[in-house]
Symmetry: C2
Subunit: 462 residues, 2 copies
């Protein structure tokens, strides 16, 4: 990496943009990755950034526009004319091109499409726009090299030479029949190894993994990861080859999925980052905090009515209330641990899943072990505390009994809820990570409180 981004360079560039020093701009970026230039331009306003892009090689600036993140790009392209955008779309891979078009408003989108010179390209883009963003069809690029199974190797090489400019990363050539049905693949390595006059038929590999245009992007990512693929062809229902997905797009899907999961687990709505506006950041957090507060108010209400109606002995209620933090923390920890393990196995599906009954049976055993260990620990701890006079229960060992029995029940129930909830959410097509989020944990808290005081009532500690 020969180029390093520094604040000094940033300021120098700012100055030279002001001076319209085109020479400086071109020289500076001659040997710089488009990725680094993109990162740098995030620090500049739209007008300055456009000035830079207008004055460097168009194939580099096209890549920069592809690389920009959605929010920034949508804003940035407002200062571009339909014609200028169309000129970029002529160069940009169709998958990125379709993303850019889908970010424009309806009117501008149509203007841009009609301004694209390459009619093949505009047809492709219109086709890609029909797919949802999060399915295979929305990830694929139309650009690929395919040859007919009846061709000779040298015909294929001619084609590669002709198409090399349009298709960026060629690792292999797809083999189809006369109707365009995908039959297999030949790697560039095999093409180099083969003799010029041999037939594609003799050298191609007919074992090929492909996916349907409608497959969900997470499944696409799982398949590419499982089978260690760098490219994955996309076909329609009749098996016709339509496009290909490259691993770099799927790596982004994997990272986004993980980030989304963490945000759900930590109760942040929508996609926020640390450098977003203060208003957006507060807004993304408040809904879940409010849910937590509402849950807490319910809790207070519940405890209050319990105290008023059942606890004639205030001293006992006071002793019990000392352990509310312990009960709530354990319920939360057990619930999140359980759902985390289930979420993990939901995201790595295996061909041979054990049945839900078997899973629950196992969860039951694990929680019995944990429940027994924890409640014994608490029971003995409290008896010891009491014996040495560190805690004054009022009604001595009864509190210890109530706390440890309810702790055991809570470990059992939270394990069960933590296990079932993500499975149900997944079945209903929600993200199972929601089970570790604030809504479920708040519910779990309230259930734990209820169990605690019901156990107290049942054991007659009142």
């Amino acid at each position: 990496m020969k180029f390093s981004l520094t604040n000094e360079f940033k300021e120098k560039l700012r100055l030279e943009i002001k001076n319209q020093n085109i020479d400086f701009i071109q020289k500076s970026f001659e040997n710089t990755s488009y990725v680094d230039i993109t990162e740098l331009l995030y620090e500049f306003d739209s007008v300055d950034s456009k000035y830079v892009l207008d004055n460097i090689k168009i194939d580099i600036s096209a890549k920069i526009i592809s690389e920009l993140d959605e929010d920034n790009r949508q804003n940035f392209l407002k200062i571009y004319s339909a014609n200028e955008i169309a000129r970029y779309l002529d160069i940009i891979d169709s998958d990125d091109g379709a993303d850019i078009l889908s970010e424009l408003n309806f009117e501008k989108r149509n203007d841009v499409i009609t301004s694209i010179k390459d009619s093949e390209k505009s047809k492709n883009l219109k086709e890609l726009l029909q797919y949802d963003e999060d399915v295979a069809g929305g990830l694929m690029a139309i650009e690929l090299v395919k040859c007919n199974i009846n061709w000779k190797i040298n015909q294929c090489i001619e084609l590669i030479k002709k198409q090399a400019k349009n298709v960026e990363n060629i690792y292999s050539v797809y083999v189809t029949d006369d109707k365009g049905k995908l039959l297999g693949t030949v790697s560039l390595k095999d093409i180099i190894l083969a003799k010029d006059n041999s037939s594609i038929k003799d050298v191609y590999d007919d074992y090929i993994i492909s996916v349907d245009t409608h497959m969900n992007q997470e499944e696409v990512a799982q398949i590419m990861q499982k089978y260690d693929l760098t490219v994955l062809p996309v076909i329609n229902k009749r098996g016709k080859l339509l496009g290909r997905i490259t691993i770099d797009d799927v790596v982004d899907v994997i990272t986004e999925t993980a980030e989304e999961e963490r945000q759900i687990m930590s109760g942040i709505t929508s996609d926020v980052e640390e450098d977003d506006s203060i208003w957006k950041l507060s807004n993304a957090r408040l809904p879940w905090l409010v849910i937590g507060i509402v849950g807490g108010l319910f809790g207070a209400f519940f405890l209050g009515s319990f105290e008023n109606n059942y606890f004639k002995n205030n001293q006992m209620f006071l002793s019990l209330s000392l352990f509310i933090p312990l009960i709530m923390a354990t319920a939360g920890n057990v619930g999140i641990q359980s759902s985390s393990i289930v979420i993990q196995s939901l995201s790595n599906p295996s061909a041979f899943e054990s049945s839900v009954t078997n899973r629950l049976f196992k969860v039951l055993l694990v929680s019995i072990i944990n429940g027994v260990v924890l409640s014994l620990l608490v029971y003995l701890g409290l008896i010891a505390f009491d014996y040495f006079g560190y805690l004054d229960f009022g009604i001595y060992s009864k509190t210890a009994l109530i706390v440890s029995v309810s702790l055991f029940s809570i470990v059992m129930l939270s394990s069960l809820l933590g296990t079932i909830t993500p499975i149900i959410l997944d079945k209903l097509n929600f993200n199972p990570a929601l089970a570790s989020g604030p809504f479920i944990t708040t519910t779990n808290d309230l259930i734990a409180l209820a169990i605690y005081f019901i156990v107290a009532l049942l054991l007659g500690g009142i």
Copy 2:
């Protein structure tokens, strides 16, 4: 995907292994990906699996052995002789080979290395064994195609033909000088496009991103992801080309990092999966649950001494204790939200980070907005509850005041702690995700409780 794993096939295979029906085994797996065979064999015991591997093509069974996960492989290879393992290592890529060797005990490892026929291979493997598993050197494979900058294209093609069998995915050829220093790369596409008698010098690309052997694997993953790379060359301090890392290994690193983060966030030690033994599963969960319990006991102890020493008015303590769940839940939610956002920006480092002071200032503003909204909500809610007689505070509006003032302080403090903790953990080279784990959240709970009752004391509600 022509092959689908079913329970029927599994049982049929089990039977045919018993009958030693080699023909059935070979026919069944003729057109099956090694990945699917691996998944199937997880359902069989070591002896049956070995019988299958011994009777299919050795290049397929070698891939299956590379694909096995560490725990299973370590166990499985116990029934293999050093000679048998060495025969596989002759075929397996050096990065996977080194992983396999590092899983064997010292004695067997040496036996295997001396049994490897290809002396070049055993030298490479010994070299790779010196690197830690989690740095670039531990991820790289030695196998690659490199040519001298002074060569002609046809010399290079001859070399590719010769090495094609040893190097699996060739997308590009590395260009080095006489001393082996990495200078650049030529893609196979460019080789096909170039004329036979042109020089490497004229067609190679001298802009190349490479990493040092000692770079941490997470950084390697970030670079490959950022620059959309499928392969990444690894060099030593003098710039000499030593090996290459392929994207499939890095995809695994990205997934493992995300899984590890989720486990840390949900308080599960070590790497467990749903299908591990009950004992292992309980064991992985107990440490953090015990920490939670100890925290809860501290809480009880704290509340108890508070009650005994300061609250002459039991009724007030009772009213306040109704809101312990609300206080704790909010502290937890705010803390986890804050650390989650910081963890995210720590895992996507940018060249232009805002300073810690700026970040804290922003956090402060966000938490003031959230704090004001939440405490107003609670204050008004409680006054309304009280007015309509749903809650009986004893000392009416004073409780509402204490709850909402302490809630505000807790939102501020938990935001601050949630922001600082991951930054400090990261600086100390711990995983910042620990900040969302049970240890920190338990501490956060206790601090919130303390603030709550200290605010109560200060506002004289006692």
